[in-house]
């Protein structure tokens, strides 16, 4: 790592103040992407603002039709939360399958969403569930939030404070893991709310997480695994690397979508 100055604010407001004041400052949430990147000297912020002590960024609550999760909630906290398990069990399942147990003890939902790693799991849930990303300045719809590889609608100095997930009637996630890194090679989150069905795919898109309209259309007719028979995801715009070429990844979108739907309908 290159040298940096460390700050540990107690509130999101203090954190925002530090971000505004310090040149080349970066936020540290769980650190499970940023610290390895810094260790490899691929990132070199002059200031690191650790959100670990910001109690106002924690907490999980049910607010009417929304499940609201504080940005600094760890994956383990989300996975184990009875509130999440009751409201959107598919989201708890997703959280319980991110990384490994140790990563889940440190990694946070806010960090994952703000980083928008193309193989991260949470962006698929946000997009499929139609979540709202709440920052210290505004509310951003998931559809407008994830703008590209590691790119989001967040502006300079903006901090994700919580994420609000509208509760779906049926929702589930399935992922095929990269055998080496264990990140999502392809992850598919399906959600049904009323007549609306959304299918979001992570790990596969050249531009990061995306929605799969053909899958959504098929599932709107009937929300069942069989509805996806013969529905093929296009390999256009799909990632290719040594673990999976575009054709295989596109194929897995269909397989994972089916598995997610089966899980959502309890089969």
């Amino acid at each position: 790592m290159y040298a940096f100055a460390y700050h540990r604010p107690a509130t999101a407001r203090q954190a925002a103040g530090l971000l505004a004041k310090k040149e080349d400052a970066k936020l540290l949430a769980g650190g499970h992407t940023l610290l390895p990147t810094m260790k490899q000297r691929l990132a070199s912020p002059a200031h690191l603002v650790d959100l670990g002590a910001c109690a106002d960024l924690r907490g999980i609550e049910r607010k009417g039709r929304n499940l609201v999760i504080g940005a600094m909630s760890t994956h383990a906290e989300v996975a184990a939360s009875s509130i999440v398990q009751e409201a959107i069990p598919g989201l708890a399942w997703l959280a319980s399958h991110i990384g490994d147990p140790h990563v889940r003890h440190r990694g946070t939902i806010g960090g994952s969403v703000a980083n928008n790693d193309p193989a991260a799991d949470y962006p698929a849930a946000c997009l499929a569930l139609g979540a709202t990303i709440v920052t210290n300045r505004r509310k951003i719809e998931a559809d407008a939030f994830f703008t590209g590889l590691y790119e989001t609608a967040l502006e300079e100095g903006e901090i994700v404070t919580k994420i609000a997930f509208p509760v779906a009637s049926k929702a589930a996630y399935a992922k095929f893991r990269n055998p080496a890194s264990r990140y999502a090679l392809v992850g598919v989150f399906v959600a049904k709310r009323g007549s609306d069905v959304r299918v979001a795919v992570t790990g596969a898109g050249e531009g990061g997480v995306f929605r799969w309209p053909e899958g959504e259309a098929a599932l709107k007719v009937r929300f069942a695994p069989k509805s996806l028979d013969g529905v093929k995801a296009s390999a256009k715009g799909v990632n290719a690397d040594m673990h999976a070429d575009a054709e295989y990844r596109a194929h897995l979108i269909g397989v994972m979508a089916k598995e997610a739907v089966a899980r959502a309908v309890g089969k």
């Binding site: 540290l28 650190g31 499970h32 610290l35 924690r58 184990a80 009875s82 147990p101 140790h102 264990r182």
Partner: protein
């Protein structure tokens, strides 16, 4: 330099460190607790696993300064009053180690699995929960056996029939 105060294996520690010091460096270099190892640069191998406030974390991916006020337990702090922890005993009894390098992280991860999932662990659960720990020697066969036995022994040692506290909901 910046200061950090925490407890390590029940002992209060105050240290003045370069902010880029990782928890594992604080433990190995500052505290000379060399039982915690480093096996990779990408947060995958788990040789560095310690408990921070009772939860298994990768100390190679945690800044020392982030542990302000935390209680850290390392492999050196697992045995109490000279008596091995049941999980340590189980690793020896079931030959759950060969070169010993991944072992401290494995044992700390194993205790964490029991803390989260209770004393009765099936093979599938153990294998899935070892996702964050790599061993190159054992083929995991005996590690899995050791963890199942260690979990049972931990149950026997705590009050009869009482499950360990599951991880707090939030």
């Amino acid at each position: 330099m910046a200061s950090v105060s925490l407890t390590v294996n029940g002992r209060a520690v105050a240290a003045n460190v370069d902010p880029r010091t990782l928890l594992v460096q604080l433990l190995r270099e500052n505290q000379r607790l060399t039982g915690t190892h480093v096996g990779c640069d990408t947060s995958q191998c788990g040789a560095c696993v310690v408990h921070v406030d009772g939860k298994a974390v990768k100390s190679c991916t945690t800044l020392a300064l982030s542990c302000e006020g935390a209680a850290v337990t390392t492999i050196e702090g697992l045995a109490t009053d000279g008596a091995l922890h049941p999980m340590q005993e189980a690793f020896r009894e079931h030959h759950g180690l060969q070169c010993g390098y991944c072992t401290p992280g494995m044992i700390m991860a194993a205790v964490d699995i029991v803390n989260r999932r209770g004393f009765s662990l099936d093979e599938k659960t153990i294998r899935e929960d070892l996702d964050g720990n790599i061993c190159r020697c054992t083929g995991y066969h005996n590690i899995v056996k050791a963890i199942a036995a260690g979990a049972e022994a931990m149950g026997g040692r705590s009050m009869a029939g009482k499950e360990p506290p599951r991880q707090a909901a939030e």
